[in-house]
């Protein structure tokens, strides 16, 4: 999908609804809202063609704040509703807003199936590693050991890694962003929207009330340069304060090297190819965890393959070309019939 940037001259303001935003002061959701409101006008899509579909959760209140068509549905089902919207009208730009609980606990099945089918939906997964709206229970992305209202002695569950799950479901697009980095998040969202297929953007989001600083190991000032790797297609995988560090492949493992040390040069550093079909390296990149590794941000995987709703539309068009049944009366009187006079 190539989009005419800005032909409509819309601005972020026009994407703000008249409803008061009701998240807790300091919630990461605010910044994400800003990013979406900045990204949408860039896409050259008329406002009425946006459908913002959410489930239930703090994050899922999102549609109310967007001056587009919106559906705040039921817990876990945003993916299925969004699939229906997109199938029904492929010309729409469909955005799914979902939390780690909404998408990966109750909504896990719809999530993996929309990815498998490659429905062209932009899936913004607000990952705060907690159930916010119900006041602080662990979620499928909570770290093992997390003490929450339902795990007073620490969880004993192993978390999902959203990126791995996306690839396990045969996914074509996965990106990661950080709530506070509005500019980068906006860029990633535009790329997600431009990808034809199910685009999952995991946004690390801070819940100030029930899981404050869960991403701090990655985001705190002191470490962030060493613990965030901003990926760009076609660019070497460099990070560190002076971009002095990089990633190299050793066998089937990634390793961190420093340019200039042990004879390492820029040429040794892996160059990011988001578009390759082979998910092996995407998997490794998506799986990196701090503090051992930097956490990868940006578009990790963006493999193009036909989208579901296009395939469906295509097949219908084919049948409409070839089938003699062109209207209901054709069907009603087709096959074996007999007249009574």
């Amino acid at each position: 999908m190539t989009l005419n940037t800005k032909t409509l001259n819309l601005s972020a303001k026009e994407f703000k609804s008249d409803q008061e935003v009701k998240w807790c002061p300091g919630c990461g959701d605010y910044a994400i809202l800003v990013a979406v409101q900045k990204a949408m006008p860039e896409l050259g899509i008329p406002r009425e063609n946006y459908a913002v579909i959410s489930g239930i959760g703090c994050s899922s209140r999102f549609p109310y704040y967007m001056n587009t068509y919106g559906f705040h549905s039921i817990h876990g089902r945003a993916a299925a509703i969004a699939t229906g919207v997109k199938l029904a009208k492929p010309e729409l730009s469909v955005w799914q807003i979902t939390g780690d609980g909404d998408a990966l606990a109750i909504g896990g099945n719809h999530f993996i199936h929309e990815i498998r089918r490659n429905v062209d939906i932009n899936i913004l997964l607000f990952n705060n590693e907690i159930y916010g709206l119900t006041k602080g229970q662990f979620s499928p992305t909570s770290k093992t050991g997390a003490k929450t209202k339902t795990s007073p002695h620490g969880t004993v569950e192993r978390p999902f890694h959203p990126g791995q799950l996306v690839m396990g479901a045969n996914g074509t697009f996965f990106a990661r962003a950080l709530d506070t980095n509005i500019k980068h998040t906006t860029e990633v969202m535009i790329q997600a929207a431009q990808h034809k297929g199910a685009s999952v953007v995991e946004i690390l989001q801070n819940c100030v009330i029930y899981n404050d600083k869960t991403h701090a190991a990655i985001t705190d000032r002191e470490h962030k340069d060493d613990r965030q790797l901003l990926l760009e297609h076609g660019k070497p995988m460099l990070f560190g304060k002076k971009k002095e560090k990089g990633l190299r492949l050793r066998g089937l493992e990634l390793e961190i090297v420093e340019i200039g040390r042990d004879g390492v040069t820029l040429d040794d550093i892996l160059v990011h190819d988001a578009k390759t079909a082979n998910p092996a390296l995407h998997w490794m990149l998506a799986s990196m965890e701090a503090p051992e590794f930097p956490v990868a941000f940006g578009v990790i995987r963006a493999y193009e393959t036909p989208s579901f709703e296009d395939n469906v539309a295509h097949q219908i068009a084919e049948q409409q070309e070839s089938s003699p049944i062109r209207c209901m009366d054709d069907l009603l009187f087709s096959g074996t019939t007999w007249a009574v006079n």
């Binding site: 409803q19 549609p63 549905s73 089902r77 199938l87 029904a88 009603l332 019939t337 007249a339 009574v340």
Partner: protein, 614 residues
């Protein structure tokens, strides 16, 4: 050629039965089509086992197809069979008690050996005696060996040859009822265009069966069933599931909408999805979802985007959809939910029919969540009620549940095709862009339906959802008084549908003081029983509910005309309870049978007779 007496009959019930793999459904459909083309009215009822192909030769694996055809209006597939075709001992065992006294049993004598009899659960070598069928007209034909013989020189391999056994049986029955072979022969020619040897084989065996019947002495007479006097028009045979699919297609075309079905396979509803998946040329989007919840949710999404949205299922799947139905009620979006009922609770009896999901449809949701509930009553009128469900859903902006059941879904009957021009208009209550802001929950003063702004309509952007809505604006509202008002509005909106639906009518004796009352697929049996009772001079009337929520506006008044009301259902009394709740002054008697099978006319009549003293 022997000389035979040809006796004129008014109506006949035939039951074909054999192993799941014996092609009994196909055989039955061939006989139905031929009979329909010869001008009979008819009704059919297939009865499958729950296993795909249960062990050959066992009673559990028997598949049956019953068919009732006649000179007059046929409304049921018949209680008991006048003719039973049994391809093996298990088929006999399973169906023994369904053969009328004086009826005929045609069986494949090749299969009635010691081993098979034992497998079927017979204790002796004389199964007919064991089942007390001695007085029936029992005709053994070596169907298997004669089939083989008929194809001996055809070049057809033995396995394929054996698969045509059912055509030998059909040939016998064709002879018995004086049916031409022509229609089936044409069918084979058309179907096996690319494998003419198969067409030939089937035709050969069919003919062999026919000739065999003509030849043997056992069959000394055959029967004629004259054409029925039926309304003018063009007819076709149609099953309930196909009729449902087509009714939805027709509604979409009338409303100028794309049809979207989100569904997940489940017996006995699957064919609706399958049928719609075939008609992509009509623009249908048939989405097989990952589960029932995704199915209904995708439909809600499609509705939001402006499609006529449908989801189809059966009881257990309906249970999974109830949360999302609530969302549809709150969002006030059109949505048709079809529940093809089957035996419950839980997985229950998946291939058997039942009417036990009425309560679930009416009240099986959290919160105060009224919606429209309709029930079709015959295979063919599934078309009409599916159309109607869509029309009401769109025009009143609320989910509609359409109930059918396994009996309707798989049963079939001739249907006078309703051309599109004869169907009423469906007018979606689209929102219009005006100078004032679009108020998603402002309503039509007459129907209380809100206006539909579908995604993509410029200037009508708005947000909906499952939280309580503020009256008119549709914003989220936690205000208690608004909540109470919205609950009342949603209920009143459904109640007002009664303004546009037909009144309840009494059929039968106008002076009747006794009424038979039913809903759904018991229609044909209750109507036939009423006719027969009236003919016998019994003052009985029949009231049938197609609309269960809301009920027709004259319901109470109509019920009060009768001294005795017998509510007949294939459940433990759900409609009867519902009537008791709605109309406290109305007392009802009940007749309930929950055996996975339709009621019989005979037992209904017996019940009425005990009431009125018969």
């Amino acid at each position: 050629m022997k000389s035979v007496e040809s006796i004129e009959l008014k109506e006949v019930v035939i039951r074909f039965s054999g192993d799941s793999g014996d092609g009994m459904q196909f055989t039955g459909m061939q006989f139905s089509d031929t009979s329909a083309l010869e001008g009979n009215d008819l009704a059919t009822f297939p009865n499958f086992p729950a296993e795909i192909r249960a062990p050959q030769g066992t009673v559990d694996g028997v598949s049956g197809f019953q068919l009732h055809f006649g000179q007059s209006h046929i409304m049921t597939p018949g209680d008991h069979a006048d003719v039973l075709v049994a391809m093996n001992p298990a088929a006999l065992k399973a169906n023994a008690r369904w053969v009328n006294e004086g009826g005929t049993i045609i069986y494949d004598s090749d299969t009635f050996n010691e081993k098979s009899l034992k497998k079927a659960g017979f204790a002796s070598a004389n199964p007919f005696k064991e089942e007390r069928l001695d007085d029936r007209n029992v005709i053994g034909a070596p169907i298997t060996s004669l089939t083989k013989e008929a194809l001996a020189n055809s070049g057809i391999d033995p396995k394929t040859a054996l698969k045509t056994r059912n055509m030998f049986a059909l040939g016998i029955v064709y002879w018995l009822f004086n049916r031409p072979l022509r229609h089936s022969e044409e069918f084979f020619d058309k179907t096996f265009k690319k494998t003419p040897e198969l067409a030939e084989a089937n035709k050969t065996v069919l003919k062999a069966g026919f000739n065999y019947a003509e030849t043997i002495e056992a069959l000394t007479r055959n029967y004629k069933v004259a054409p029925a006097k039926i309304d003018k028009g063009t007819y076709r045979n149609i099953s309930g599931n196909v009729a449902t699919a087509w009714g939805l297609l027709a509604a979409a075309e009338k409303a100028g909408l794309q049809l979207f079905i989100g569904s997940y396979p489940i017996t006995p509803a699957t064919e609706i999805l399958q049928e719609l998946a075939r008609h992509k040329s009509l623009g249908v989007k048939a989405f097989q979802a990952e589960d029932e919840i995704a199915a209904i949710c995708s439909a809600l999404g499609a509705s939001f985007a402006g499609s006529l949205a449908v989801t189809t299922t059966s009881g257990p799947g309906m249970a999974l959809k109830t949360e999302a139905i609530g969302l549809g009620i709150m969002a006030e979006l059109p949505l048709v939910v079809v529940n093809v009922q089957r035996g419950g609770p839980s997985t229950g009896l998946p291939t058997k029919t039942e009417q036990s999901d009425l309560w679930q449809a009416l009240l099986g949701r959290n919160g105060e969540s009224p919606l429209i509930v309709l029930a079709a009553s015959t295979p063919a009128n599934c078309f009409h009620y599916a159309f109607q469900a869509a029309k009401l859903s769109i025009e009143h902006m609320t989910p509609v549940v359409l109930l059918t059941d396994g009996f309707l879904a798989n049963g079939s009957e001739p249907w006078r095709i309703t051309p599109m021009a004869e169907l009423p208009a469906i007018v979606p209550p689209y929102a219009q862009k005006t100078d004032s802001e679009y108020m998603p929950y402002a309503r039509d003063p007459e129907t209380l339906a809100r206006k539909w702004a579908t995604v993509g309509m410029e200037g009508l952007e708005h947000r909906i959802g499952g939280l309580e809505k503020q009256d008119i604006t549709g914003n989220v509202s936690y205000d208690g008084e608004n909540h109470e008002r919205m609950i009342a509005i949603r209920a009143e909106k459904v109640r007002r549908v009664a303004r546009s639906i037909p009144e309840l009518e009494a059929f039968g004796d106008p002076d009747a003081k006794v009424a038979l009352v039913g809903w759904g697929s018991t229609f044909g049996h209750l109507r036939t029983a009423t006719e027969e009772l009236n003919l016998a001079g019994k003052p009985v009337a029949h009231l049938h509910f197609h609309h269960l929520s809301p009920m027709p506006s004259n319901t109470e008044q109509m019920l009060k005309r009768f001294d005795k009301i017998l509510v007949c259902e294939i459940n433990t009394g759900q409609l009867a309870d519902y009537l008791a709740m709605r109309f406290q002054d109305v007392r009802t008697l009940r007749y309930n049978k929950v055996q996975g099978m339709p009621l019989t006319v005979k037992e209904i009549k017996a019940q009425v007779n005990t009431i009125i003293g018969g």
